[in-house]
């Protein structure tokens, strides 16, 4: 029973990070219909910036995360302006290839700047606490709490502020949004910034319990794709729910089935879903 609870909490932790990354991916997909393969690289850069800010600049963990959010957010915007914007009317293979080019570049750059080693990120929240008989590190509690806070804030931003609602409007109907005078360029920039910021937060939160290395984004991004396909491409609640579902499935699967193959769960899930429903679970069908 205790093991199960422990695993459920682990699932909650992993799921929180998955949800954050998937949210960014789904927002970008929602407004531009681009599967951004470079999103995992943003996640990786987010981890490194936070780490570097802490070890080289001596910033506090929280401050380092703030810097990371800004840097990765801007990087994400740069990507939109320089690459995806010029390619917006191109055949579908091109934006994917372009994104892969960026991904390869950022990974090589990270390796050049910071080396290929696996690095540990220190955290001021290393102590162990006891909650309801469970032994947890404070960092894990922080991950869950911070992720949920970020999601609530994002939800409020998208639903209750004017600028946030323009994102929703554009996701629902791009032409319509342009017709009612929404500046689609601005919305795209904003969305990419948010996506980058979410990736940076996700990476920074999880790095102290995982590791920082150039390839750290590979599995996460692929799982985020799985999540948004499960949750419906472009759907915000779908990304959150999907993230937690995958988090729980993985942590339970790792304990009760095989920890070696836990990473396969997501991909097998996706293969099954897309084999049965080639246009995703929540496709509108027909034309």
């Amino acid at each position: 029973m205790e093991l199960l609870l422990q695993q459920l909490f682990n699932g909650l932790t992993i799921g929180s990070v998955y949800s954050l990354v998937a949210l960014g991916l789904t927002l970008v997909y929602g407004i531009l219909h681009i599967p951004n393969f470079a999103h995992g690289a943003l996640y990786m850069v987010g981890g490194y910036i936070t780490l570097m800010m802490m070890t080289n600049a001596g910033l506090h963990y929280v401050l380092a995360i703030v810097v990371s959010i800004i840097v990765v957010g801007l990087l994400s915007v740069l990507m939109e302006r320089l690459v995806f914007h010029p390619l917006r009317d191109s055949p579908p293979i091109q934006d994917k290839v372009a994104a892969i080019g960026i991904l390869l570049f950022l990974e090589a750059l990270a390796q050049l700047l910071w080396g290929a080693d696996y690095r540990q990120m220190p955290t001021p929240f290393g102590e162990v606490v006891n909650v309801f008989g469970l032994t947890l590190t404070l960092q894990r509690i922080i991950i869950v709490a911070a992720a949920i806070a970020v999601m609530i804030f994002l939800y409020w931003f998208l639903k209750k502020t004017f600028i946030g609602s323009t994102i929703i409007a554009m996701a629902q109907n791009r032409e319509g949004a342009a017709l009612v005078g929404i500046n689609t360029n601005k919305v795209a920039i904003l969305t990419f910034f948010i996506a980058g910021a979410l990736a940076a937060i996700g990476a920074s939160l999880t790095s102290p319990i995982n590791l920082v290395f150039p390839g750290m984004g590979h599995l996460v991004i692929l799982k985020a794709f799985v999540i948004i396909i499960i949750g419906g491409m472009g759907s915000i609640p779908g990304a959150i729910l999907g993230g937690y579902i995958l988090g729980f499935t993985e942590s339970i699967g790792a304990t009760y089935i095989s920890s070696d193959y836990k990473d396969i769960i997501a991909f097998v899930l996706l293969i099954i879903i897309l084999s049965a429903k080639p246009q995703g679970i929540f496709s509108k069908g027909g034309a």
């Binding site: 290839v97 080019g101 390869l104 570049f105 990974e107 599995l219 991909f267 080639p278």
Partner: protein, 329 residues
């Protein structure tokens, strides 16, 4: 002068160059690199047939390459089969797995297809990496035998391996050329162009897409088997996305959907990265952005760029000479 430089002569000169290369250059290292380049090019041709000519961007080709390599490795090392039988079986096994995956993967389109195949690639990697009792996992598979002699011809020296690879390579290029220029190739191109239109022209898109997919996995598997027979040691990293992305880079830089693209891209990048030693680990610092820039400014890569300017130049020429002298491009 112009007459001498027609397409056929250029091809003949290139083949001649490839044949005499071991005599001009005694450096074993270069021979090794060229042999590898031929092998990679075959895999890129596989990818190009599907992505370039049929319009389906598969991100699982590193995985299929690895299935071919492990197919050969396991059949020889663990199965105790002879090299040539294994060499024949490995691409066929890859094809069979490709057929099953293709049946499902091809129900999806565009980005769903890309994500689907990326996941397939990952699963192949994870299976190879984790299934230690079969694949030896991260330790890798060692002791893959060299090709057995055929009659008096042995394949133990690097030069012999080079020629063996060259022969298979030329055969592959010929086959690809014939496919692309046949009605089958035209059918693939019609599908890439518009599936809806192809369907309404009576083309069974399902059947033809599957054919293209299976063929492309065959070439990936063939390249993998050749790689395993040449390097004679393989590890799970050959199934990783890095390989898929390498193949993709070679294809895009050379020219997606062109016949010369895979050769140009693969050789250019491999030779460049060999000559710029500092680039070894960081070559993607240059080729990553190059990939992105090319896809924005010259979507059909270097070869596409040249073809475009060549045809523009020809159009200009056409305007100055009497029309009846210009026949067939």
């Amino acid at each position: 002068m112009m007459k001498l430089l027609n397409k056929r002569n250029i091809i003949l000169i290139l083949i001649l160059l490839a044949v005499v290369f071991p005599f001009i250059n005694q450096n074993q290292y270069y021979l090794h690199i060229l042999t590898l380049a031929f092998i990679w090019t075959i895999a890129v041709y596989g990818l190009n047939l599907l992505a370039g000519f049929t319009g389906y961007l598969s991100l699982a080709h590193g995985g299929f390459f690895a299935i071919g390599a492990y197919g050969l490795g396991l059949l020889t090392v663990k199965g105790g089969l002879g090299f040539w039988l294994s060499f024949l079986l490995a691409p066929l096994i890859t094809m069979a797995i490709g057929l099953v995956i293709g049946l499902f993967a091809l129900r999806t389109k565009e980005h769903f297809f890309a994500i689907y195949t990326l996941c397939v690639g990952y699963i192949i990697y994870l299976v190879i990496d984790k299934w230690e009792s079969l694949t030896e996992g991260v330790r890798g598979l060692i002791g893959i035998p060299a090709p057995e002699p055929i009659g008096p011809i042995t394949f133990t020296t690097p030069i012999a391996q080079y020629y063996l690879t060259l022969v298979i390579f030329l055969l592959v290029v010929l086959i690809i050329y014939r496919i692309v220029h046949s009605l089958t190739g035209r059918t693939f191109i019609a599908i890439r162009n518009s599936e809806e239109l192809a369907l309404s022209l009576g083309i069974s898109t399902k059947k033809n897409k599957l054919l293209s997919f299976v063929l492309s996995t065959f070439f990936a598997g063939l390249a993998g088997a050749m790689y395993a027979g040449f390097i004679r040691f393989i590890g799970p990293e050959i199934a990783y996305t890095t390989i898929t992305f390498d193949l993709l880079t070679y294809m895009i830089v050379g020219g997606i959907g062109t016949l010369a693209g895979p050769i140009v891209g693969t050789f250019l990048i491999l030779i460049l990265s060999q000559n710029l030693q500092f680039l070894q680990d960081y070559r993607m610092l240059i080729f990553g952005p190059l990939l992105t820039l090319l896809i924005i400014f010259s979507p059909r890569g270097i070869v596409g760029f040249i073809l475009l300017h060549y045809s523009n130049w020809k159009t200009k020429k056409r305007m100055t000479i009497p029309k009846d002298q210009v026949k067939e491009g």
